[in-house]
């Protein structure tokens, strides 16, 4: 093409994580993931928003592609083939139906054409299919994924009348946020018991400061203070806040600070106002902010 393409476009199954995403493990989750992957056991990531679930999946996709950590020298690379491991992410929403995952017929000039959905493509390509916030999706989607999560490892496509056995590298990873109350949205037991579950929570203060500093590029003192702010705000969970301040939020604050926005203001726009609409809680958080930041 004559004009320079300003964007990068590729098929979803050709998406590889090629550079190491920054990830600070909190415990043995990397090893567990690796082991589960070797055994092709699907994985469920639980935890509040902004605790690094997505980042972790990216990190693992990269790690597994690189085959970086064979257990013993001489072990074959983890995904067997030595090929790169695609990562196909689907953000689930409340209108997501099974055919959005599996695929559908489209009309074209010659009649109809079948087009694979992201899940089908992942199954065929043998990559990691990451269904983010799985509880948000419609109930019929869960039925589709069940056969993929047990010994069958197969995907049935009703409309085509066919069943696809998953390629060897395929693994289903789902995430969900149990929320602070189990009241309204929950994962069915028949679904959740098909996964090994990894719990995510906010990193401890020091580690979080490290993450904030790395991700936002702000100085370490600011990062420490932001981490402290996060910690303090999380104390308000269940007392006016439904969720604690996410690490992501704190990173955004750090980025704004790096851009020269005043510390208090940056926290206000990226933390206080983001986290709640309740004026009184906002006021209280503001007081914490103005205590921690001069």
């Amino acid at each position: 093409m004559a004009t320079e393409q300003k964007y990068d476009e590729r098929n979803i199954e050709d998406y590889y994580v090629s550079e190491e995403p920054f990830y600070v493990p909190t415990s043995d989750e990397i090893e567990i993931f690796e082991s589960a992957y070797r055994q092709r056991v699907p994985i469920l990531l639980k935890g509040p928003t902004g605790t690094g679930k997505t980042r972790f999946v990216e990190h693992m996709a990269w790690r597994l592609s690189e085959g970086l950590t064979p257990r013993n020298p001489g072990d074959e690379a983890l995904n067997g083939s030595g090929e790169k491991l695609p990562l196909i992410t689907v953000a689930c929403h409340e209108d997501l139906t099974a055919s959005d995952l599996v695929g559908r017929y489209l009309l074209d000039a010659d009649g109809t054409r079948w087009i694979d959905g992201p899940l089908t493509r992942a199954v065929k390509a043998g990559g990691i299919c990451y269904l983010d916030e799985i509880v948000e999706a419609r109930k019929d989607t869960t039925v589709i994924i069940h056969p993929l999560t047990d010994h069958r490892r197969s995907l049935t496509i009703d409309k085509l009348g066919s069943t696809i056995d998953a390629a060897d590298g395929f693994l289903l990873v789902v995430s969900y946020n149990p929320g602070y109350q189990n009241a309204l949205k929950d994962l069915k037991h028949s679904t959740r018991q098909r996964f090994v579950a990894l719990e995510f929570d906010f990193p401890e203060e020091e580690r979080e400061a490290q993450i904030i500093a790395h991700e936002s590029g702000c100085d370490s003192d600011t990062a420490e203070r932001l981490a402290r702010l996060g910690l303090k705000i999380r104390n308000l969970r269940e007392h006016g806040l439904e969720e604690g301040a996410s690490t992501r939020m704190l990173i955004y604050a750090g980025r704004l600070i790096k851009e020269g926005v005043s510390q208090r203001r940056a926290c206000q726009v990226s933390v206080t106002w983001g986290i709640t609409d309740d004026p009184q809680v906002q006021r209280s958080i503001d007081e914490v902010v103005t205590s921690i930041f001069a």
Binding site: Y105, A183, L184, N235, G240, S284, V288
Partner: protein, 1146 residues
């Protein structure tokens, strides 16, 4: 010189003769008077006089007394009066005597003095004024006499005109009550001289009061005596006139007006008093009843705003007052929102109650614990060891602060002060002041704590030594420290082996303070050091508050006492405080102790580092104490103070990095030595005071504690540790020690006796001190029990269970229904086992509803907004319909594709905006069990419900007693919060247009499940609903099953697509006989669960909201597969309920 046939002589003689028939005094006095008068009066007059006297004597049986008095008074009176008037005077007396001799007696008696002040022409009037009081009765005559007697006194201050008015007033009052009139007379004599100039005005007021509400007069005089007197004359008149005007317009409490008015006027600066009264006048002109309220509230208002600002507030009030008297009254009572807002916007002061929620959340955020915020006064009232009531403090779980801050000119600064003190106080919690552990090593110092002997230990060892000496008669070496027990045991000849085992301490803090002999000094030192440590942390971690913090510290420094006025030891403690508050220059210290000061300063510096633990503070205390204890507390001349050079930071930080300010070995020696003073062998030498004498040399003064630093407040480490330990155990943070023995009263007494923080009070009030202390201990015990988690656990009594006999019930009466009950052990239903009695809730007052909405106006608006957002959702496109407004493109495409590939296409190709999409019926089912009567703050207390007797008669008695308790309440109960929640929800549900019913249930036993309808599902909202909500109150037990079944039955009949049953409860289901042997709790839980399953089978979605914090365990069983929520904090209910409702139904 007189002859007997002289007519004058005749009359006189005749009188004499006649008088003989009366008792002797009459004649005697006649003779005396005659002798004096004869020369002074013309003969004729004298005769008339004599005859007049005789006439008086003859009037009635008892009138001779009057005659005697007449003769007596005549001499003096005659001097005042010309003869014509003199005789008139006598005649007046005679006519009085006709009415009553006693009147005449009184008249004559008081005449000599009265005549000094009374013009002769008023004599008749005077007599008439008094006579008017006489109505033939004994009481009236006494009153009239009293007025005669009082006349001379009264006339000293009153003009005759005023006197007459007073008489009139008394007459009016006496028609109602002679006693009151008598009292008023006495009070008047007392009062009038003190308010000269305003007497007439006051009498006028009194007269009106007597006419309008005579009972008030006594109070009026009282309050006038109490308050008017104090008031300057300039403001007395306007105030009295004001009161008069108010009384005329219908205010009955004139006394109150005077009292409050005087009180208020005295409180405001002199130059504003006139304006104050003018303001009141202008209010009175518009709304009389509001004026007294204004007078009453002014002092409070002036605490928050300046006088000029108050003027603005007042004029706004006058505008309001034009609307109605009620509006004016609430305005000036400061009860209406408009009034409060107005004042708020004018004032720069901040009330704790207004910012309390914010501060509470701030504290929660900082510490991670729920910290209560309360007014300091409340802690003092608890009487558990804190006394100040004005200073901020904490006892480990609650922070106490002044109720109003008005130190600065802006709101921001005043709020900043709140923030400073809360940051400091919760700093004690956040940075672990109360988590002190005797055995945890410090990070900055070598540990000395474990190497020092405890005072109690020493005492015991000493005693053992004594005993050993006596028994063995040979020197015994006692090793201090932990070996002591062995040494005691190893004394074979001890007759009574002293149990010298290490003493038990309730808290580590107590154990620590036990190391010191001068505990008071140790506490003060520890207080300074620990506070500095907290300040250090705050400075490092919360630089944002430091601007304000430093301002507060600077202010605190300014109010410190002059060091040079203090004796040496105290001067050095003061020096430490000043260092800790950041003073650098002009540090005066006694020259002699300049090196000690340097060391103390270094200790403070060390402790303000961020690594410092509370244990470091303890070690620092030991060191500072060892320095200070060697310093005699003697007067130091001003000249002997010297400025300590400002710190050379580099120099210091270099040298003291590792070096201890004191030599640890020396300290140990010092502690050892000090505890066994040479030569003294008395066992009680350790007692306070006596120990001091040991050191007290010439000119040495008793040590007294320094003045508190305002923002640091009252620091009581021992008590706080004790109290917070209890609390912490609950959250499982102190479980390492396993089970903690319950604390006994004796232990507490022991602790109180030794605690330095208690000393102050004991020494101050010698008398009743003991009683005070024991009262305090009692309160403290209660407080501890309240906090003891053991008490909060659910403990069903042993004989809870009764198997209910009898068979199925039949509903014969109207509005009764029977339902089966699920017996999970038998795995079957018991048919018709429970009887539900449906009743319509009785009507109450609509006020609760209105007030709740008004109080929560902000929340109401918020909920409404949220609900309004739901409405557009109701117009959402509904897709995949067989018929509708238009084709749905997606569906059509799919159908076309299906056609192309030869599959039969879907027929549902249309979409429609479905207006009726929202078709919701909800039933709210409120738990009205007796336990909802508990105060929300104390909802943690054990619920007595399990103690409910099984015998029906006893049960009723138990219930009644519980309910009567409810009548006396002043606190908020769980049920009140339920009511609030429902109120807010109902109000918003009307916006939404959903069908909803509100029901309450309770009951006792299976035959009596009470089911109250507050609003039926198909009933329209009417005025009755708020009235019924008002009546929602705690009743009996909680048999949930039948109530749920009944509600489900009602819902099943409702025509709606989605149906919800919203259960709001405060605890597990329970009732008499709602159990089976061995499975007491489970039975009820399972029946409830079964009823929910039944409801679901009817197409109803149940949801349970409970405020029972312990709810997680049984809710899991009861609500498995159902949605529920356990509210962590009951006060969230009104807010959470609408949210849940919205989430659930959309």
């Amino acid at each position: 010189m007189t002859s007997s046939d002289d007519p004058k002589q005749n009359a006189i003689e005749e009188t004499r003769k006649e008088l003989e028939q009366f008792p002797a005094p009459v004649l005697e006095r006649y003779e005396v008077a005659l002798e004096k008068l004869a020369g002074r009066l013309a003969d004729e007059t004298c005769q008339q006089w004599a005859l007049e006297g005789l006439e008086i004597a003859r009037k009635t049986v008892r009138s001779w007394e009057a005659a005697a008095e007449f003769f007596d008074a005549s001499v003096a009176v005659q001097r005042q009066l010309p003869s014509g008037q003199f005789l008139k005077w006598a005649k007046t007396g005679t006519s009085l005597c006709e009415d009553s001799p006693s009147l005449a007696v009184a008249y004559f008696k008081s005449s000599p003095k009265a005549m000094l002040r009374l013009r002769p022409r008023y004599i008749d009037d005077w007599a008439n004024v008094c006579r008017a009081l006489y109505r033939g009765t004994w009481k009236s005559s006494a009153l009239a006499c009293r007025l005669f007697e009082a006349t001379p006194d009264l006339l000293e201050t009153l003009s005759f005109e005023e006197y007459c008015h007073f008489g009139e007033f008394l007459e009016i009052l006496s028609r109602r009550s002679y006693d009151q009139a008598g009292d008023a007379l006495n009070a008047g004599i007392d009062l009038f001289p003190k308010i000269t100039g305003d007497v007439d005005r006051f009498i006028n007021l009194a007269q009106i009061v007597a006419e309008k509400s005579w009972r008030e007069t006594a109070v009026l005089f009282d309050s006038a005596t109490a308050s008017l007197v104090e008031l300057g004359s300039a403001h007395r008149a306007p105030l009295i006139s004001l009161a008069r005007r108010l009384v005329i317009t219908g205010v009955s409490d004139a006394a109150g007006v005077l009292k409050d008015g005087a009180n208020t006027v005295n409180k405001v600066p002199a130059d504003t008093r006139d304006r104050l009264l003018e303001m009141t006048d202008s209010i009175a002109a518009v709304s009389a009843p509001a004026a007294p309220e204004f007078l009453k509230i002014v002092p409070d208002v002036l605490e928050r705003v300046t006088f000029d600002q108050m003027g603005q507030w007042q004029s706004e009030g006058v505008r309001t007052a034009r609307e109605s008297d009620e509006a004016a009254i609430t305005y000036f009572k400061l009860e209406s929102p408009a009034s409060q807002e107005m004042l708020d916007s004018l004032s720069s002061s901040i009330e704790l109650s207004r910012v309390r929620d914010v501060i509470q959340m701030y504290c929660l955020a900082l510490t991670g614990h729920t910290i209560e915020v309360q007014a300091a006064q409340q802690l003092a009232e608890k009487n558990i060891g804190w006394f100040q009531g004005e200073l901020p403090t904490t006892e480990g779980t609650t922070i106490y602060m002044p109720s109003v801050i008005n130190r600065y000119t802006t709101k921001d600064e005043n709020f900043g002060f709140f923030k400073v003190i809360s940051t400091h106080q919760i700093g004690h919690i956040e940075f672990g002041s109360f988590a002190f552990d005797f055995n945890v090593p410090s990070v900055l110092f070598d540990d000395l704590r474990s190497r020092l002997p405890g005072a109690t230990e020493l005492k015991a060892a000493k005693a053992a030594e004594e005993a050993a000496k006596k028994a063995a008669e040979k020197p015994q070496v006692v090793i201090f420290g932990h070996e002591t027990p062995e040494s005691a045991v190893s004394t074979p000849a001890t007759p009574e082996p002293e149990p010298a085992a290490a003493p038990e301490f309730l808290t580590d803090m107590s154990r620590f303070f036990d190391l010191f002999q001068e505990r008071r000094l140790a506490l003060d030192v520890f207080t300074v050091i620990e506070s500095s440590r907290i300040d250090g942390y705050v400075a490092e971690l919360y630089p944002g508050v430091m601007t304000m913090y430093n301002m507060v510290r600077a202010a605190a420094l300014e109010s410190r006492p002059d060091v040079t006025d203090l004796p040496a030891q105290e001067a050095l403690v003061e020096f430490m405080i000043r260092v800790s508050l950041g003073q650098v220059d002009e540090m005066l210290v006694p020259s002699e102790h300049i090196e000690a000061a340097r060391k103390l300063r270094r200790l403070i510096r060390q402790i303000t580092s961020v690594e410092a633990l509370v244990e470091d503070a303890a070690e620092a205390t030991i060191r500072a104490y060892s320095i200070l204890i060697d310093i005699k507390n003697e007067e130091v001349d001003d000249d002997d103070f010297e400025q300590l050079e400002p710190e050379d930071e580099e120099d210091d930080s270099d040298s003291d990095e590792d070096e201890d300010v004191v030599d640890p070995e020396e300290v140990i020696q010092q502690f050892m030595g000090m505890s066994s003073p040479e030569g003294e062998g008395e066992a009680d030498q350790m007692e306070d005071g006596e120990g001091e004498q040991e050191f007290e040399g010439e000119g040495e003064e008793d040590y007294s504690s320094p003045q508190e630093v305002d923002y640091r407040g009252e620091f009581k480490p021992e008590l706080s540790q004790l109290l917070s330990q209890m609390q912490m155990m609950e959250s499982g943070e102190m479980t390492e020690g396993g089970e903690m023995e319950p604390i006994t009263q004796e232990q507490l007494e022991e602790m109180m006796k030794n605690a330095p923080e208690m000393e102050m009070e004991q020494t101050e009030g010698e008398e009743g001190g003991d009683q005070q202390v024991s009262e305090m201990i009692e309160n403290l015990m209660k407080e501890l029990q309240k906090r003891d988690p053991e008490n909060q656990q659910f403990e069903p009594g042993p004989s809870q269970h009764v198997d209910e006999d009898g068979g199925p019930l039949t509903a014969t009466e109207p509005d009764t229904f029977t339902y089966p009950e699920w017996d999970f052990r038998a795995n079957e239903y018991k048919p018709n086992w429970c009887m539900v009695h449906e009743k319509i809730m009785t009507d109450g007052e609509p006020n609760f509803f209105r007030e709740t909405l008004a109080e929560n106006a902000g929340l109401v608006a918020q909920i409404k907004r949220q609900f309004e957002l739901v409405i557009p959702e109701m117009y959402r496109k509904q897709k995949r319909l067989e018929d509708g407004e238009e084709y749905d493109l997606d569906s059509v495409l799919e159908a076309l594709i299906d056609l192309k590939i030869g599959v039969s296409p879907e027929e549902k190709l249309y979409w429609r905006r479905n207006k009726n999409e929202r078709s919701v019926a909800v039933a709210f089912l409120l738990d009205l069990s007796a336990s909802t009567a508990e105060a929300i703050d104390e909802a943690k207390k054990p619920s007595d419900d399990w103690g409910a007797p099984d015998d029906p008669v006893e049960y009723m008695v138990w219930l009644r007693s519980r309910r009567s308790e409810g009548l006396r309440r002043t606190y908020k109960r769980i049920v009140d919060v339920e009511k609030e929640g429902i109120t807010l929800l109902v109000n918003s549900l009307e916006t939404l247009g959903d069908m909803y019913g509100i029901y309450g249930f309770s009951g006792y036993g299976r035959e009596n499940v009470e089911f109250y309808t507050i609003k039926d599902i198909d009933e329209n909202f009417s005025d009755m609903v708020p009235r019924r909500i008002d009546r929602i109150a705690p009743l009996h037990a909680t048999r949930m099953g039948p109530a749920i079944r009944h509600t489900a039955a009602k819902l099943a009949e409702a025509e709606a697509r989605s149906k919800f049953l919203f259960l709001i409860s405060d605890g597990r289901p329970q009732d008499r006989g709602y159990s089976r042997e061995g499975v007491e709790k489970e039975y009820a839980v399972h029946d409830t669960r079964q009823s929910l399953i039944e409801a679901r089978n009817l197409g109803i979605t149940p949801f349970c909201l409970t405020v029972d914090k312990a709810g997680h365990d049984y809710m899991k069983t009861m609500m498995e597969d159902f949605s529920y929520e356990v509210l962590p904090d009951i006060s969230l209910l009104p807010k959470r309920l609408p949210q849940l409702y919205r989430n659930l139904t959309t």
